[in-house]
C-alpha cells in the first residue's frame, strides 16, 4: 500500500496548481480518492461517521449484483428456451451464463464508459469533484434495458440522461428526475420498437427460434388476455413460481422477484433506501390493483392484484428507482405520500392505459416532478405548526 501511496504522491504534483496537467486535477482527484480516503481532517465536529457517499453508492451497487447475475443467466436461459435447446432450468448453466454475459456485459461497459466519461469531462471543465452518483446509475441503466438493445442506443441514452438529466441541473444531488429512468424513457420514446412489443425481450436470431414462439412477456400476455391467457402460453410457463423466480422474458435485471428481493433486503437492512417509500409503493399498487379489479375496468381480467407485484418491472422500480434519495420526497410524511401515489399512478398506467401496459417508469418520473411539491406542503405544515404555537 505504501508503494501505491508513494506512486500517487509522485504523480500528484503534476495535477496540482502550476503542474503540467493542472486542468485535469479533478479527474486525478477522483481516482486518488477512490484509492485512498483523503488525509483531510474534520473541522466543526472533530469526529465523523464512517459513512460517505462512496460507501453509500457502493452499497446500492452491491444490492444490484444479485439482479445482475440472475439477469445474465436468464438472458441465456430465455435464449435457449426460444431455441428449443437446454430448456430445463438445470441444464447448461455455463452455456447460458456465457451467452448472457456476451449480451449483458457490453451493455454494462457501454453505460459505465459513456456515463463516467461524461462525468469526468464535466468535472474537469466545471472544476468540481467527480460525484459517485453515476456508480449506481451506470448499473441501473443496463438492468432496465431489454437484452437486444443496440449498444449505440445505450450510449446515446446514457449521454442524454447524464447531460440533460443531471449535469444540466448541477450534478448528483441537484437532479430533479431519476437519471437511469431518463435513459430508459429516452429510448422508450425515441426508439419505441426497440423497447416494447414481443420481439425485444429474448436475445438471439428470431428466425432460428422454435415454431410458435411469441416472446411476449407475462405482463404483455396478461394485459391482452387476462388470467386465462397467462395460464395458456405456449413454450414458456408463466405460472406464479416462474414469475417469482424470474425465469421469464423481460428487461435484463427486472424479472426475478428473488434477486430483486435480496437487493431490497440489503438496502433496507443497511438503511440506505427508505422503507417508507418501498412499503407505500407496494400498498399503493395493491390498493389500486384491487380497486380496478373489483370495478372490472382493468385490462388484466381475472389477474389478482398481488400478481402485479411480481409481473413486469414493478418490484425493481420500487426497490431501486422509487427510492432514489435525490429525486424522491425528502420528508418522512412526504415519502409515504410519494410512494403511495407511485403505486396508484403505476397501476393506472398499467391497468387502464389502452396503449401499453408498463407504467412504473412514467409513474416514478411523474412523482419525481411532484416530490418537491409534496415536501413543500409537509414542510409548510411544520412551519404553520410553529407559527400557531407562538400565538
Amino acid at each position: 500500500m505504501k508503494l501505491l501511496e508513494n506512486l500517487v504522491g509522485k504523480v500528484k504534483p503534476h495535477f496540482e496548481e502550476g503542474g503540467k496537467l493542472e486542468n485535469y486535477y479533478y479527474g486525478f482527484e477522483a481516482l486518488e480518492t477512490f484509492l485512498f480516503v483523503p488525509a483531510q481532517t474534520s473541522q466543526g465536529t472533530h469526529i465523523k461517521d464512517g459513512i460517505d457517499l462512496k460507501r453509500t453508492m457502493f452499497t446500492v451497487v452491491v444490492a444490484m449484483i444479485p439482479a445482475l447475475l440472475f439477469g445474465i443467466w436468464n438472458v441465456g436461459q430465455q435464449h435457449f428456451v426460444a431455441m428449443g435447446e437446454l430448456t430445463a432450468l438445470s441444464e447448461g448453466f455455463m452455456d447460458k451464463f456465457m451467452y448472457g454475459s456476451l449480451k449483458v456485459l457490453p451493455i454494462v461497459i457501454t453505460a459505465y464508459g459513456v456515463g463516467l466519461g461524461i462525468e469526468f469531462v464535466f468535472a474537469i471543465i466545471r472544476k468540481h469533484p467527480v460525484n459517485e452518483g453515476f456508480l449506481v446509475s451506470g448499473m441501473l441503466i443496463p438492468l432496465i434495458m431489454p437484452p437486444t438493445i443496440p449498444l449505440w442506443m445505450v450510449a446515446v441514452a446514457t449521454a442524454f440522461a447524464v447531460i440533460i438529466g443531471k449535469e444540466a441541473f448541477g450534478g448528483t444531488g441537484m437532479n430533479i428526475l431519476n437519471v437511469a429512468l431518463m435513459a430508459r424513457v429516452f429510448v422508450f420514446f425515441a426508439h419505441p420498437t426497440y423497447m416494447s412489443g414481443d420481439l425485444v425481450w429474448v436475445a438471439g436470431d428470431a428466425s432460428l427460434f422454435v415454431d410458435g414462439f411469441s416472446g411476449a412477456t407475462p405482463l404483455g400476455v396478461a394485459y391482452l388476455g387476462g388470467a386465462e391467457a397467462l395460464a395458456n402460453v405456449s413454450i414458456f410457463n408463466y405460472d406464479l413460481t416462474n414469475l417469482i423466480m424470474g425465469t421469464i422474458p423481460g428487461s435484463i435485471g427486472e424479472t426475478s422477484v428473488i434477486a430483486v428481493g435480496i437487493g431490497a433486503v440489503i438496502l433496507l437492512v443497511t438503511g440506505i433506501a427508505s422503507w417508507r417509500i418501498m412499503a407505500s409503493v407496494v400498498v399503493g399498487t395493491l390498493v389500486a390493483g384491487t380497486v380496478f379489479d373489483l370495478a372490472g375496468i382493468s385490462y388484466f381480467q381475472g389477474v389478482p392484484a398481488y400478481t402485479h407485484l411480481v409481473m413486469g418491472s414493478m418490484l425493481f422500480a420500487t426497490v431501486f428507482m422509487a427510492t432514489d434519495p435525490v429525486t424522491a420526497a425528502q420528508t418522512g410524511t412526504g415519502k409515504i405520500i410519494y410512494g403511495f401515489l407511485i403505486g396508484i399512478f403505476g397501476m393506472i398506467i398499467r391497468a387502464l392505459n389502452p396503449a401499453y401496459p408498463e407504467g412504473w417508469m412514467l409513474a416514478i418520473l411523474l412523482m419525481n416532478v411532484f416530490a418537491p411539491t409534496i415536501d413543500h406542503y409537509v414542510v409548510q405544515s411544520n412551519i404553520k405548526r410553529r407559527i400557531s404555537r407562538a400565538l
Binding site: A39, H46, D52, R55
Partner: protein
C-alpha cells in the same frame, strides 16, 4: 419523564474514570473573548500587561454591551495578550498567584435584595458572562427579562463528564444559585435531569425538575427546551451549566467570584482519564503533560462534537467542563470507504458495528470522506429529537431566506444541537458552521 427515542450515542474509548486525576496546578490562566458569541473582536481592556488582578476583578468588556464585565477567574499578573488575525484579541493570559485572592464584593441576601441589585452584582463580578441567551447563544442581555431559565444537569455527548461528579462539594452553592436564577426570570427555572442524576438535581428546591431519557442529544439543553417550552419568535430564554449555577450561588453567599470548575480529562489518547479541580480558563498543559500516549493528537476544549480545538498548552474555554484528546486523523486510508482499516462508530448500518451497539470505539479526527452535495435525506431527523426539519433549515440558510429560517425553527437550535447531524452527514456538510452563519444573519439583520 420525557422519553426521547431519536438520537445516537457515540460510544468512544476513554470516558472519564471516576475520581480525581493527579495533575499539577495550572500556572497560566486565560480568558478568551473568542468563546463568546456576538461580541466584537477587540474588547476594551481594563488591564495592561504587567498589571495585577484579583479574582473577580474585571479584565475587559465588549463595547457593544459595556455593562457586562468579564471577571478574572484567578488572581495574579496579566502576562500576555495574544492576538489573532486583524489584531483580534484571542487570549488574555494571567500568571496565577500561589494563593488565589478574591476581590470582595458585597454579600447579597437573595430573598431580600432587588432584581437590579442581583443583576448589578453579577454584571460587575463576571458571573453574568456564564449566562447564555437563546436564540443565538449570545451573552444574556442585562436589559431583558428571560421567559424561563434552563439548566441541563446531565450530559450525553461523547465521553461526557458526569455532572454528579462535577457538582460534588458545591451542592449548597448550587441550590443558592437556583434561587438567584429564580429572581432573574419572570417565568420558571427548569432543570433537565437524566436517569442517573443525583439528589442535588432531582430534589432541588423552587425549580421545575423534568427528567429526560434517551440517547444523545437528550442531555442538550436546546432539546430539553424544545420539549418543555419551545422558543417562539420574540422569546428570550437563558441557559447555563450546573457548575456555573454554583459559582453564582457562591457569589451571593460569600461575595466572591470563585470560578472553580471541575473538568473531565477524556479521550483514549490520554494515559489516564479522570477529573481535575481547577478554574475557568486553566491551561490544560499540566493535565496533559506526561499524560499523552503520543504526540500526534488533537486537544479539544469541550466534547468531540462541538468543542473547540486548542493547543496542547491551550486554555479551557469559558463554558467548557471537558477536555478531549483524540488522535489526529491526517493519514490517507487505502480503500477506507470500502474496507475500513479499524472499526469506527457509525449510525449507518453499512458497518457491521450496528450489531454491537454497546461497543466502545477508538476514533480519530479523519473526515472519512469528502464534502458532497446533499444526496441522502432523513438522516438528520434520525438524530434530532425535535419537531423540526433540519436539512430544510440548513438549506434555507444556504439560500438565505429569512422567513423560511424563522418558520423552520432557527430560534430553537444552536450549533451543539445540530452537531450530531454534522457527525452523521453522508455528504460531510459543515452543518454547525452553516447554522452559525444563519444565526448571525438573523441576529444582525433579521
Amino acid at each position: 419523564m420525557i422519553k426521547l427515542s431519536r438520537g445516537f450515542d457515540i460510544r468512544l474509548l476513554g470516558s472519564p474514570e471516576q475520581g480525581l486525576l493527579e495533575a499539577k496546578n495550572s500556572r497560566l490562566f486565560a480568558l478568551k473573548p473568542t468563546d463568546v458569541v456576538g461580541i466584537g473582536p477587540i474588547p476594551k481592556l481594563h488591564k495592561a500587561i504587567g498589571d495585577r488582578v484579583l479574582a473577580g476583578e474585571p479584565l475587559f468588556f465588549d463595547k457593544g454591551s459595556p455593562r457586562i464585565q468579564f471577571g478574572s477567574p484567578v488572581s495574579g499578573e496579566v502576562v500576555e495578550i495574544r492576538r489573532g488575525p486583524k489584531r483580534a484579541i484571542t487570549e488574555v493570559v494571567i500568571a496565577v498567584d500561589a494563593e488565589v485572592a478574591f476581590h470582595q464584593f458585597e454579600k447579597l441576601d437573595v430573598a431580600s435584595c432587588s432584581r437590579e441589585q442581583a443583576v448589578d452584582l453579577m454584571l460587575n463580578s463576571g458571573a453574568w458572562t456564564l449566562l447564555k441567551q437563546r436564540p443565538f447563544n449570545t451573552l444574556a442581555d442585562p436589559e431583558a427579562t428571560p421567559r424561563d431559565i434552563f439548566v441541563s444537569c446531565f450530559d450525553t455527548a461523547p465521553l461526557a463528564p458526569d455532572h454528579n461528579m462535577l457538582i460534588k462539594g458545591k451542592e449548597s452553592a448550587f441550590q443558592k444559585g437556583l434561587s438567584v436564577l429564580n429572581k432573574l426570570t419572570s417565568g420558571g427555572v427548569h432543570l433537565g435531569v437524566g436517569p442517573e442524576s443525583a439528589d442535588v438535581f432531582t430534589k432541588a428546591d423552587g425549580v421545575n425538575v423534568t427528567s429526560f431519557s434517551g440517547p444523545h442529544p437528550a442531555g442538550n439543553v436546546g432539546v430539553q427546551i424544545h420539549h418543555l417550552a419551545p422558543i417562539n419568535k420574540g422569546d428570550v430564554v437563558w441557559t447555563l451549566k450546573p457548575q456555573d449555577v454554583a459559582i453564582i450561588g457562591k457569589l451571593f453567599s460569600d461575595g466572591v467570584f470563585d470560578a472553580e470548575r471541575t473538568v473531565a480529562v477524556t479521550g483514549d489518547k490520554t494515559k489516564k482519564t479522570g477529573y481535575v479541580k481547577t478554574r475557568i480558563g486553566a491551561s490544560v498543559e499540566p493535565m496533559l503533560a506526561d499524560n499523552l500516549k503520543h504526540d500526534h493528537v488533537r486537544c479539544i476544549s469541550g466534547n468531540a462534537l462541538s468543542g473547540t480545538q486548542i493547543e496542547k498548552d491551550g486554555f479551557l474555554g469559558l463554558y467548557d467542563d471537558q477536555i478531549t484528546v483524540l488522535e489526529e486523523g491526517d493519514k490517507p486510508e487505502f480503500l477506507g470507504w470500502l474496507i475500513p482499516s479499524y472499526k469506527r462508530p457509525s449510525l449507518s448500518r453499512t458497518f457491521p458495528s450496528f450489531l454491537r451497539p454497546n461497543k466502545e470505539y477508538h476514533v480519530n479526527t479523519n473526515n472519512h470522506g469528502e464534502e458532497r452535495a446533499y444526496v441522502m435525506s432523513q438522516q438528520y431527523e434520525k438524530v434530532l429529537p425535535m419537531d423540526l426539519h433540519p436539512q430544510y433549515l440548513i438549506k434555507s440558510i444556504l439560500y438565505g431566506d429569512f422567513e423560511q429560517m424563522e418558520g423552520l425553527g432557527i430560534y430553537e437550535v444552536v450549533e451543539e444541537d445540530l452537531a450530531l447531524c454534522e457527525f452523521v452527514c453522508t455528504s460531510k456538510q459543515p452543518v454547525q458552521q452553516i447554522l452559525r452563519a444563519g444565526l448571525d444573519l438573523v441576529r444582525l439583520e433579521g
